[in-house]
Symmetry: C2
Amino acid sequence: MNKSNLYCVIMAGGIGSRFWPMSTTKYPKQFQDILGTGRTMIQQTYDRISELFPAENIFVVTSKEYLELTYAQLPEINPNHIVGEPMMKNTAACNLYMANKISEINPEAQLVVLPADHLILKEARFQEKITLALSLVQQNDYLITLGIKPTRPDTGYGYIQYLSEENKSIFKVKTFTEKPNLEIAKAFLESGDFLWNAGIFVWSVKSIKNAFEKYLPEMVQQFNYCEYNSQKEEHCIEEIYPKLTKISIDNGILEKAKNVHVIPADLGWSDLGTWTSVYQNAAKDDQNNAVNSKNILSYNSKGNVVRLKSKNKAAIIDGLKNYIVVDTDKALLICPRDHDQLIKDYVQDLKNLKKGDRFM
Amino acid sequence: MNKSNLYCVIMAGGIGSRFWPMSTTKYPKQFQDILGTGRTMIQQTYDRISELFPAENIFVVTSKEYLELTYAQLPEINPNHIVGEPMMKNTAACNLYMANKISEINPEAQLVVLPADHLILKEARFQEKITLALSLVQQNDYLITLGIKPTRPDTGYGYIQYLSEENKSIFKVKTFTEKPNLEIAKAFLESGDFLWNAGIFVWSVKSIKNAFEKYLPEMVQQFNYCEYNSQKEEHCIEEIYPKLTKISIDNGILEKAKNVHVIPADLGWSDLGTWTSVYQNAAKDDQNNAVNSKNILSYNSKGNVVRLKSKNKAAIIDGLKNYIVVDTDKALLICPRDHDQLIKDYVQDLKNLKKGDRFM
């Protein structure tokens, strides 16, 4: 495979409000060492893909607000390849933007697009599946997504139904279903021919641009107004972004396109979308507490995830079972682990307080 | 009554480790607004006694370490009357020290000695009982303590057994018992002739000096070495303090003296010795949570005491019942209210950590 045609885009624009107060709009999850491994999520993502792609072929697309954070955390990446969107417009827009930008550099590019804030434990398996996908999109007009075998009826994920054939490593996608209710999620899990959509996409710039032409032609028109990789690009993007439709790449393209394929991949994957998933993936002490500091002493406490932002702070935890305790200089959260989906509502309540924004 | 003979000493040397992490060795409870009323405990104590005594007759004895805090919080008091002990030697030493110092100024002085960190809700009743005691010690060689009618079999207090006679407002003390076990405390409560020792003492300097001569003659010798209210005092005190016996005024004098009397006083008193007593005395919301900030939002939570030191911090509390939550820049405490007696042990565990002292 000609490596010079292989490109990677790390999507790093999220806010991570379900991770409040550790993740804030000013300093979101992808820029933090959520699991306490010594590398932030976006650095882990970079580490994972850096061997597969020439350094100059790696791009990051994030919010304009996070450009400085990204420069600082990923000094290995050419700053011109770290792109700031002027506002959040969901994932269709940034995918078209990056496809146009890379296509202008190399119209033969094959592209991997992946989120900056996911955990993947099985790195070799990941690289193997990505390599397979890249070789497939070189020869076929495929839009490929990696699919994770579901382990529970999670209602927070997108599900992919595929047409199963024996002895194959890639399958045609039949349907996409975003965030099903619990009953449906259980049925999906039992049926066995559904996978979680990990949001890791592989395609050629040609194929994805064709798909946009077909399913989001207006957005293509809007983006065609700009001249990429020129001094005018930034100003032009500022002009078109306010007019763009907010739609995900899943809803806008993948649910409609006929050439979507899935590669099932056992990656040791978690989207680390909630404190519960952090708890599940973090190292635990003999009482099953996941703590991130030696200065945390626990008594009569089991199954908690405790995160102190300051290394100079101590904590005493007595009598808590299965709680989330997160402390930063701006906010303290104490909440049962099974209420982690409510955190974004609590944050909204705080915002509704006078001057509540200062805690975000 | 000749007001010029009336003196008051506020004892403010405690560390308050049961109030960690709000109370620390650097910034103990008496210098904090524990109840959120807008005045610190020592300021409240000053407010309570300031009408009874000429301003120049009010003294504070504290640790040398807390002199600056005291100057700052009580600018009304002559700085020469704010006395710093070079080390903690329990309450006998500081009582003899202050008796000597005041006696040198006015050998006819009548003296009220009281802790800086207690809550008294019934201020008028307090002033009435103090005035009564002062008039009694002017004419009698009495050592008087105020006694609080017990409301529960508390094992953390000292108990005073008195010889009851009808229609009297002052009684001779029969026995003192420090911190009885629960069974004995229950028996005391039932018998009806026991009171809690509030640590509020009234005596003339003559009477207390006589008592020291009789029961702690060695300590009297040691203190006689110094010249009070002179430039040499501080240096001399530094020299004698290391040699002094550590003993409380209760153990050293009151348990032995034959002229100890008690005035029962319904003062709305609490020593605020634990977070539970703070909880009991603090204002509560409709879910019986005692919180000290509008930036605390609680859900499914009842009966908690929550204290955030920073006004610029928010907290979300979900699913806690009857907990203590205290947050400072150095430490976070989460602990069931009925474990508040264990806090000092937890603090000791923290100190045993390498560099644990920085959290105190």
